[in-house]
Structure formats: structure tokens, C-alpha cells
Symmetry: C2
Subunit: 212 residues, 2 copies
């Protein structure tokens, strides 16, 4: 997604240390202390403008949410929403998903969400897809045993790839939906992208992939 | 599929013992002798009127095909086509898929096709679906190690179920296509049902599930 550069983003992050964790690697193994409770911790990889994670945080006040987003200019929109809605069970990290094991201890997370991830459609970019084997290894490391990755996308090719990659890793697929918005999944929280593209008629695909 | 009763079907089977194997359990472990060669053997479960298996047999003369079909009145149409086209690498069995291990030895088959299988949509009928765990156990028994089940359907619910069941069994998914007729899979042989429903605009789903 091409975004306007927002030079004030970094300043705004620094002014909200209770919402944007500046040195997350120092929190590794101590995220329960950061949140001040022992609630489960769910991670969204690629939080974007934050509509999903904030909707989830409001729907699930007894769960802590961490959103990781590479683009500062995009993440600042999520921060603005957090401030506006006075949300306390979310932390944002302006980091790269490749560094997950520097940010979280083994078994520190309970669930991971991948929403409308970049499809990287060219074969030579396969390793950049967030369901590529090396990313699954990272997720398995930082999550407790038998935990789940919740994935949705409107990109048919990426969903087909993900089904292969998850099953090849030995994960079990649950709640596969090939048309989420015409399914009986009622608690769906939409991302900004999902609202826009489903309104244009795109099918939304979803599945849960569980480690074992 | 509701079919007219065809009382002459049994007679026609009996008159064509080179195409319809009357006592297939006697062939168990000897299918290479039945075909008179050592070519690989592929099985279609639910052959219907035979368009798929006959198309495959013509496309792949070095593979032997066995089609199993419970309904004699449906299978007789496949037999008529076999006779008309003078096909020699197909055998039809008017049998129940639940009896596979009485018909084939361990490791006797090289591939299995499930095409537009009955979806049995009610939860209480899950065990009748041809990708239910007990059927996968039968397929794994009669196939060589690491062999594949090739599955296609227009039924979204059945495909979603199949992805769960295959992955839960530990199988790896390959060539997942969520819109087969708009994919780059060029060697597709259509079933009668597939021709009819894809012409009406139904999406066709396909995947390969490999044992390991």
C-alpha cells in the first residue's frame, strides 16, 4: 500500500509509550508485565490502520493484543484510533515480523492473526509471504503448543498457497470458509481493506491453521 | 442422483466380463494380471456415467483405470461408452467404496480420484462423505506410500470439509484451486456433472491430498 510519508509519526509514537512500545526487545518474556495482567496475548502480524485489532480488543477485553506493523506512516493511523477510543489492551510495535523471536519468548503468545497479507504473487518472492515455512517456524516458536494462526484474505492465489504451506508444515485446518461473508461466522471483525473490497464484491477466504 | 431403474444393466455387465469385473474380490492382489501388464493402477471412486475415467484412459494409455460405482443403472452408461470407444485400460466394478480393502491388496493402487462426490451436508451423515477419516484409512491402505487423492467438486461445503479432513489426517495439500476453470490446469477432464454445472456458472474446486 502506497502511503503518504508522515514525518510526525515517530514523534507521535514517542509521545505515547503506553501504546507504542519503543524498545520491544526489552519486553521479551515480560509482556504480561507490560500489560499488567496475566491475560492471554494475541498478535496481529501486519496491523495496518488498526481497525481489526481495535475491534478485537473491544470485543475481547480479557485478551491482550499486540499489533506489529512495518510502516510507521500506516501504524500512526492505528495509534490515533487507540487514543481516540481510549483502548488499554493493545500495544503497537513498529517492527519487522522477521524479528518475532527477538520480541517474544518461546510460548509467550496464544494466537496469531494474519489479515490480508501482501500476496507477493511472484514465485521468486515466495519467502516473503507470511505463511512461508520460515514464518511458520517463527510463529510456532513464540506461541504455546497447539495454538492457532487465524488467516483471512481476498487473494485467491495467496489462500491456495497458504493451504499448501500450512498442510505441508503439518498444521490442521479448521473453520475453512471459501466465502466468509456468506458463512455463519458472526463474530467477524473487518479490516479496512476487507470492508472496501468485500463491498466491491470480492470473496473473502478464511481458515484457522493449528500447530500440533 | 435419481436414475431410472435399468433392469437390463446386470445382464449387460454379465455379457462384458472383460470390462465389468463380476467377482472383483477374486482379483484382489492380481489386478496387474487382470489388465495383462504392470502399468500403474488408478481408481475413481464414484465413476458415475464414466466420462471422466474414459477421458483419462484415452489421455493416459499407459495407466490402468478402475472405476467403482454403487449404482448399476448409472454404471451401465459408462459401460456403453467403453464398448463404443473400444477402451481396453478400464475396468468397472459395481461395488461399494466401503469394501475397498476386500477388492485391492495393500499398496496395489497408485492414485485415487474423487469427483463431485455426494456432499452429505447434514452433520449426522459426515461418516458417509468419501473424505471422512475412515475412507482415508481405506485409501491409504490400498495405495502405495506417499500416493495422492485427486479431488474436485462444485460443493463449497464439501470442499471446506475435505480441506479440514485431509489436513487433520496429516495429508499435504497440493495444487489447490478455488476456481479450476479459470486456472492454468490445462489437462482437466470434465465429468458429466462438471460440464453441466460449470456451464451454469458454478465454481469448481480442486486439490490433491498426498499421504505421507
Amino acid at each position: 500500500m502506497r502511503q503518504r510519508n508522515k514525518p510526525w509519526a515517530e514523534d507521535m509514537f514517542a509521545k505515547n509509550p503506553n501504546l507504542v512500545t519503543a524498545s520491544p526487545s526489552e519486553c521479551k518474556g515480560k509482556w504480561n508485565e507490560v500489560f499488567g495482567n496475566t491475560n492471554p496475548i494475541h498478535l496481529e502480524v501486519g496491523t495496518g490502520k488498526g481497525q481489526f485489532i481495535i475491534g478485537m480488543a473491544k470485543q475481547n477485553p480479557d485478551i491482550n493484543f499486540v499489533g506489529i506493523e512495518l510502516s510507521a506512516s500506516v501504524m500512526v493511523s492505528a495509534l490515533e484510533k487507540l487514543i481516540e477510543e481510549n483502548i488499554t489492551n493493545v500495544r503497537l510495535l513498529n517492527e519487522n515480523a522477521q524479528d518475532l523471536t527477538e520480541l517474544f519468548n518461546e510460548n509467550e503468545l496464544n494466537q496469531i492473526y494474519l489479515n490480508f497479507s501482501d500476496p507477493w504473487p511472484k514465485n521468486r518472492h515466495e519467502k516473503r509471504r507470511l505463511m512461508y515455512r520460515s514464518f511458520l517456524e517463527l510463529y510456532e516458536t513464540v506461541m504455546k503448543p497447539e495454538c492457532e494462526v487465524h488467516f483471512k484474505t481476498d487473494n485467491q492465489g495467496l489462500f491456495e498457497y497458504a493451504l499448501h504451506s500450512f498442510s505441508n508444515y503439518g498444521m490442521v485446518l479448521h473453520e475453512v470458509s471459501l466465502d466468509l461473508h456468506n458463512s455463519d461466522f458472526e463474530e467477524n471483525i473487518m479490516t479496512e481493506y476487507e470492508e472496501k473490497f468485500s463491498a466491491k464484491g470480492s470473496r473473502i477466504y478464511r481458515c484457522i491453521a493449528q500447530f500440533r
